[in-house]
Symmetry: C2
């Protein structure tokens, strides 16, 4: 696996609708050299996540898009090759937003040092990284679950959804997961302790299925997908329901808008609260969440699963497959083994 | 105006789409007699409000619907005729949900005594009643406005909207009102201190009009109407925007759903918060709001306007006209003068 070149995957063009392999371009360049106080990192694991679809578009968002010709953005777990900063030494494992490439130079302040003794290092972009932080803070802080609440999670088999459901069980909630594949749903019930599941692809009356699964209404709705799935859930909200909007993956690849009733009467009738969430806003409290999640993993109270593709060059197809729901749990690309 | 019969307006049939006069029936019955601890009240003013449209439907809501053949529900300012309860004496002015009728018998606990020295008595169903309480608590408590915030109010010329805008000005906000009539908009700017206004009926690009009126984005959106107007506002939300859903009048009379994009991405991108509001939840704090609003009226810091129809029998058409937006300010029906 030794290389002396840096393979990089660039955004070649902005997609309209679903991204395709042709929207990406693999180039090979020289390995960059770190400047003063910088660190050269070799990628071991790349994370592919739904938010990256937003970065491929020029539409206004919470951060600037990737420009055509730039390397695709993304979280990376890597190993320090060379460090010109005293806080990092060669061989150490780090995590950072280093993009889809074998090697990256980064400012030390943008790297997080990973303890390989805590959990497998790739969890630093999974349950002990962005998806885990999202599940922890969006669910516990925004949704404020109480024991006995009925919690519905959309995108339940994804990296975030699986963890939300299990944190819900730890907090004494009744957890209902929605996903699009019976195998995923079986996993959620068998391995993650979900109380009930709904297959949104095969249900022929999704609002009725939610009502049946939630006879006392939906106290908490953790939304990763949006669209028709959310509309079905909104139909069954309980009094003082709390909704967190973490993702809208059903909407990211549409070339024309998905239409539904514009009526927000369900908010009023139930005095519901809905909030949009971005994990970065909670960065000051990541250590708390990492400590607790790592404890729950160690105790066997939380399980996580990974969906791994091998080889940097496979990243575009792994990303597209994740957008289409092929993954169970965290979608990752393994790039190299640690030296 | 002396009568010895009780005229009552009943729900004759449930409307599909817009209500029509034929959905109501005027009947004349004997004046009821109060039982032990009850009070007989003669109506002086009836309130007509958007929420009544919901009560005409059988759909699930926050309270039970009016049944066909029952008297229409509604807030009334009236005068005590006979009292079998020690807390009320003949001649006193009271407010309660007594329905569309000349006379009603009520439990004393459901009546609120009105001080005629505070403001004209009909304000007990207006600025010092349900619409004023809605404006006060939904705006100040749910939206948490700060000086410098840009506040957008839909249904701005209605009973609630006018007051919200003026409370916004008192709190140092920049206030933008949306309504459907240039005369109303002129009133909002001239008499209520609104900084900018938008006519949603004549604008040919409503999202662009909101963006132009709110160059720094919308910090607070007070929604009385829903539908396309809200969609335009959502397009311009600022970071950490707060949205309160108080009404969805644009949706109440549709015979098929009004469709729009189902994408809630604007919530996520802006980390916005949306809450549904029902004034009854705040009833324990009405005295605080009444005291402050009455003070602001006395100081000349808040103006309110009334749109008055004369005669109980005119109530159905006054109600329908209000739903169609004919009113500027609080829509009322004057039934009788105090004895």
């Amino acid at each position: 696996m030794t290389q002396n070149q840096n393979r990089r995957i660039l955004l070649a063009s902005r997609p309209t609708g679903w991204p395709e392999p042709a929207n990406f371009r693999l180039v090979t360049e020289a390995i960059p050299a770190p400047g003063a106080k910088e660190v050269l990192v070799r990628a071991l694991w790349l994370s592919v996540d739904p938010y990256m679809r937003g970065r491929m578009s020029a539409a206004k968002s919470y951060t600037k898009p990737v420009e055509v010709g730039e390397v695709m953005t993304g979280g990376v777990v890597g190993q320090v090759v060379t460090s010109l900063h005293p806080a990092f030494r060669p061989g150490e494992i780090v995590e950072g937003s280093l993009g889809w490439q074998d090697y990256a130079v980064a400012e030390a302040s943008l790297l997080r040092k990973i303890d390989p003794g805590l959990a497998p290092i790739q969890t630093a972009v999974g349950i002990l990284g962005m998806p885990g932080m999202t599940a922890y803070f969006a669910f516990l802080e925004v949704c404020q679950p109480k024991a006995g609440d009925t919690v519905v999670v959309s995108g339940a088999a994804g990296a975030v959804g699986q963890i939300v459901g299990q944190i819900g069980k730890i907090n004494g909630c009744r957890v209902v997961g929605i996903a699009g594949d019976d195998g995923k749903l079986a996993h959620l019930k068998r391995d993650c302790g979900f109380d009930a599941t709904i297959n949104y692809k095969t249900s022929n009356d999704l609002p009725a299925a939610v009502t049946a699964a939630c006879p006392n209404g939906v106290d908490v709705y953790f939304d990763n997908v949006g669209g028709a799935v959310s509309e079905a859930v909104f139909n069954s909200l309980a009094f003082k329901a709390r909704i967190v909007i973490c993702g809208q993956i059903s909407q990211y690849n549409l070339d024309k808008p998905d239409l539904g009733p514009r009526n927000l009467r369900y908010m009023l009738v139930n005095r519901a609260r809905m909030e949009g969430f971005l994990v970065w806003d909670w960065r000051d409290r990541y250590p708390e969440a990492i400590r607790r999640l790592a404890g729950w993993i160690k105790d066997g109270r939380i399980k996580y699963s990974e969906h791994v593709a091998e080889g940097l060059e496979k990243t575009p197809e792994a990303f597209i497959a994740m957008l289409r729901g092929a993954n169970l749990g965290k979608a990752l690309v393994k790039v190299a083994d640690p030296a």
